[in-house]
Amino acid sequence: MIAYLTRRLLYALPILLGVNLLTFALFFGISSPDDMARIHLGGKRVTAEAVERWKVQHGYDLPNFYNAAGEGTDKVTQTLFVQKSLKLFALDFGAADDGRDIGREIGKRMWPSLVVALPTFFLGLAAYLATALFLVFFRNTAIDTVGVILLVALMSISGLFYVIGGQVLLAKWWQWAPISGYAPGFSGLQFLLLPVLIGVVSGIGDSSRFYRALFLEEAGRDYVRTAHAKGLSPFRILFRHILGNAAIPILTGVVVVIPRLFLGSLILESFFGIPGLGSYTIDAIQAQDFAIVRAMVFLGSLLYIIGLILTDLSYAWVDPRVRLQ
């Protein structure tokens, strides 16, 4: 198992390096530092000196891969690729355009993201599983048919509608919770109510339908017939046998997103004014702050790869066929 894990981690390195090179090519090949400077300085009447000054200020006055002017190792290290891209590996994200350290900002904004994303994730998972199990228990009845129609209706509605509709209905008219805002600690609990609820509801159509399909597939298997032939109760068959086996595809689909919960949700955070990483990214895109976007893209890939490795480990955990072979 340790050999396997080591091998997987080693495999991850070339992938990350590839991601790094690719983002570098996208950010520095397609739009040069000169373009960045012009965008930030604004308009067409920007002098060449102003561009140079901006580049020096923000550390973009270096060649891409090879610095002929440098000495010794500086020839390689004093380049945009090393300074701006490779340093991401050391989680050194550099400074944003406003001069603030991106790494420290991420460390600070991670918590509000998690405070919203974690309950949304776990409450959501529980709600989707319960809905799917409920429908499967009543399969081939009117309850199932109506349920599926409802789910399809729910998944046909745009996610933005849930946000705006929820804010209008629950916050403005019924005044159950504040429309938006954020406060740390227990006093901030009231602010979480609406984004978590909306996060859960907006995913219910898709996920419950998917889980229902997984459960139905398991319900048609031979071992379920054996369980019936043993005289087991339908509850036991549903929870012990069907859920136990369907947990394998469900869990592995779910585990992959867990590391990325840190990054928060772009839509929820920006609509509810939560100062997390999601709104950080959105703001950076709007402000054309490439340093932040680059850092978030790299972090996203890193967390995704970690998610994939966790997925493979969780396979071994839930499936004895993987664990014991």
Binding site: T6, Y223, T226, A227, H228, A229, K230, G231, L232, N245
Partner: protein, 606 residues
């Protein structure tokens, strides 16, 4: 003890899958339900358990277990009967067990549901499993052990009736013999009634006290097992079943060739349902539906009583001719002499062939050991000859076949294989294409070996295009038409998709596909094991004819020993990657020398 009367099972489209089946089981006795696929055997069994698939319903009939009316019980009470007084074992032991629960947990569940007096350890011991198997998961057990575990679960509720639905069909022949012995042993020890469902006459003969033959949703004959095998049965279908089954004793004779195939569930013909395939059909048979009288559902049954099987007694003369009716394959059949003249030329010569798979371990995935699937095999196959390769699952016979066709990664194969005197293991590019022209294969499962989204004509033409580039499209079409006709299909098959054909027809298509190329060597990998016996006889007859016509050499891979005795010229018995015995089929089957061959033959039921 268990009686079933006039069971009617209705399929989702309203047609009947079982149509008036009546059975009676007695304590300590075994009733065999015998029939080909689609005749309603499993539906009957699942009806008794009330475990029919969704949409399939019991539309009529009564079932009584003792005083309990099974079809009238509320579901809750029925649940306590399932796995209790009435238990069932299924065909596929792997998929019938929960893959993520240990054997002990699965047995414990059944114990808890029925308040069993026996412990898990006692139940395991009853079915011949060791205590250490309790904590195993199904995938860690062999096929036979899995089936034993399934039986242990079903014994937990101390059943009075055990239904076994093709319990050994997925198992090797030696394991099959063990499981059948276990079932018979349990039946007598626990005085259970056993309802055994099978398509295998040998199993019926070995296990049954009474045999009920099912055809097209009806019982066509109920007969004491010993009478059945003494007289050959009274219903023409029963008799035909006996005569389409290949065996060493039938060697050199044509098998009875039943035309057509078992009608699809619900699409029964009018009148007697067997009439369209019956060689002794009379005009009345197509009009009147016969009733089950004195154990036979036939207007003109053979013999007045089972004890005196006189085929002429009821005055239907054609009945006597059943064994050699005009529908039998042509006389070209027993003619071994013309083939022998041409056989001296060696077509395929295999020397010291090895297929070794590397086992990789550790951080750097170094090869730590090898799985020796094929380990030093020498074989020779002459033109126009049939060599049977016999062995149980995992013995390496399929790896061998793949290596011969160069479908096996080259790095795993060592040794020499000469086809027409040319070494083929190092062929590349266009010379490899030449090999593919000379050697073709027909796979076991005709349902998965044809691309379901390609028209039959396109599937056949694809191979021709690749391997016979000299043919233009008109020539290809002509060739396909010729081959389709040769295997008993016609041009109308070309624009259709595989799902429009029955299993037997698909296997004919697979044979036509292989023969289009005009190979010299045809590898037949269990070509009939997915087919009903009556269809198997048709395919065998076709293979015989084609061999006589084209001088084809067959490498016939199978685990079916009676079939080897019937069909093969020579046989090689494979165990653990090695050939343990080889020789003329007749002498090996009659007097096996190697202990493994002897064990295989002793295990074959019947």
């Amino acid at each position: 003890m268990l009686t079933l009367r006039d069971l009617v099972v209705s399929l989702p489209d309203g047609r009947h899958g079982v149509d008036g089946v009546s059975l009676a089981l007695e304590a300590g006795r075994c009733l065999v339900l015998l029939g080909e696929s689609g005749c309603g055997k499993s539906l009957t069994a699942l009806s008794l358990m009330r475990l029919l698939p969704e949409g399939v319903t019991i539309a009529g009939g009564q079932a009584h277990l003792g005083a309990q009316d099974l079809f009238a019980l509320p579901e809750r009470r029925m649940r306590s009967l399932r796995g209790g007084r009435l238990a069932m074992v299924f065909q596929e032991p792997m998929s019938s067990l929960n893959p993520v629960m240990t054997i002990a947990a699965q047995i414990e569940e059944a114990r808890a549901a029925h308040g069993s007096r026996q412990t898990v350890a006692e139940l395991l011991d009853d079915v011949g499993l060791q205590p250490q198997h309790a904590q195993s998961y199904p995938f860690q057990l062999s096929g036979g052990q899995r089936q034993r575990a399934l039986i242990a679960m079903m014994l937990a509720g101390e059943p009075e009736v055990l239904i076994a639905d093709e319990p050994t069909t997925a198992l090797d022949v030696t394991v099959q013999a063990q499981i059948l012995r276990l079932l018979r042993d349990l039946q007598s020890r626990r005085a259970m009634a056993l309802l055994l469902i099978t398509h295998d006459l040998g199993i019926a003969r070995e296990m049954g006290d009474t045999v009920a033959v099912l055809y097209a949703g009806q019982v066509v004959e109920t007969v004491a097992a010993q009478d059945l095998f003494a007289s050959g049965g009274r219903h023409p279908y029963t008799r035909a079943l006996m005569q389409v089954t290949p065996s060493l004793g039938r060697r050199g004779q044509p098998l009875l060739s039943l035309p057509g195939s078992v009608p699809l569930a619900g699409a029964w013909p009018r009148g007697c349902r067997f009439a369209p395939r019956c060689s002794a059909v009379a005009p009345r048979c197509r009009e009147a539906s016969p009733a089950l009288e004195a154990g036979v559902r036939c207007l003109f049954p053979v013999g007045a009583a089972p004890a005196s099987p006189d085929p002429l007694q009821d005055g239907v003369p054609s009945r006597a001719a059943l064994g050699s009716s005009p529908s039998c394959a042509s006389a070209s059949f027993g003619a071994a002499t013309p083939r022998e003249a041409a056989t001296e030329a060696v077509l395929l010569e295999i020397k010291n062939l090895c297929v070794h798979y590397p086992l990789r371990r550790g951080l750097l995935q170094r090869t730590v050991d090898w799985v020796r699937a094929v380990d030093g095999v020498d074989l020779r196959l002459n033109r126009g000859e049939t060599l049977a390769l016999v062995g149980e699952s995992g013995c390496g016979k399929s790896s061998l076949a793949r290596a011969l066709l160069r479908l096996q990664p080259a790095a795993t194969v060592r040794g020499q294989v000469r086809l027409n005197g040319e070494e083929i293991l190092n062929l590349r590019g266009s010379t490899l294409q030449t090999l593919r022209r000379c050697a073709q294969i027909v796979f076991q499962d005709p349902f998965s070996s044809l691309d379901p989204r390609m028209r039959v004509g396109d599937s056949l033409e694809e191979g021709l295009q690749a391997l016979r580039p000299e043919m233009d499209s008109a020539a290809r079409r002509q060739q396909i038409e010729r081959m389709l006709k040769r295997v008993g299909l016609d041009v109308s098959a070309m624009p259709r998709y595989p799902h429009a054909f029955s299993g037997g027809q698909r296997q004919r298509l697979a044979i036509a596909r292989a023969l289009c190329i005009e190979p010299q060597l045809l590898i037949l990998d269990e070509p009939t094991s997915a087919l009903d016996v009556s269809v198997q006889a048709q395919v065998l007859a076709l293979l015989r004819e084609l061999q006589a016509e084209h001088g084809l050499a067959y490498l016939f891979i199978t685990h079916n020993l009676p079939l080897v005795g019937y069909f093969a010229d020579r046989v090689a018995v494979m165990q653990g990657g090695k050939i343990v015995e080889a020789g003329a089929a007749e002498s090996v089957m009659a007097a096996p020398q190697h202990p493994y061959t002897q064990a295989l033959l002793a295990s074959a039921p019947g």
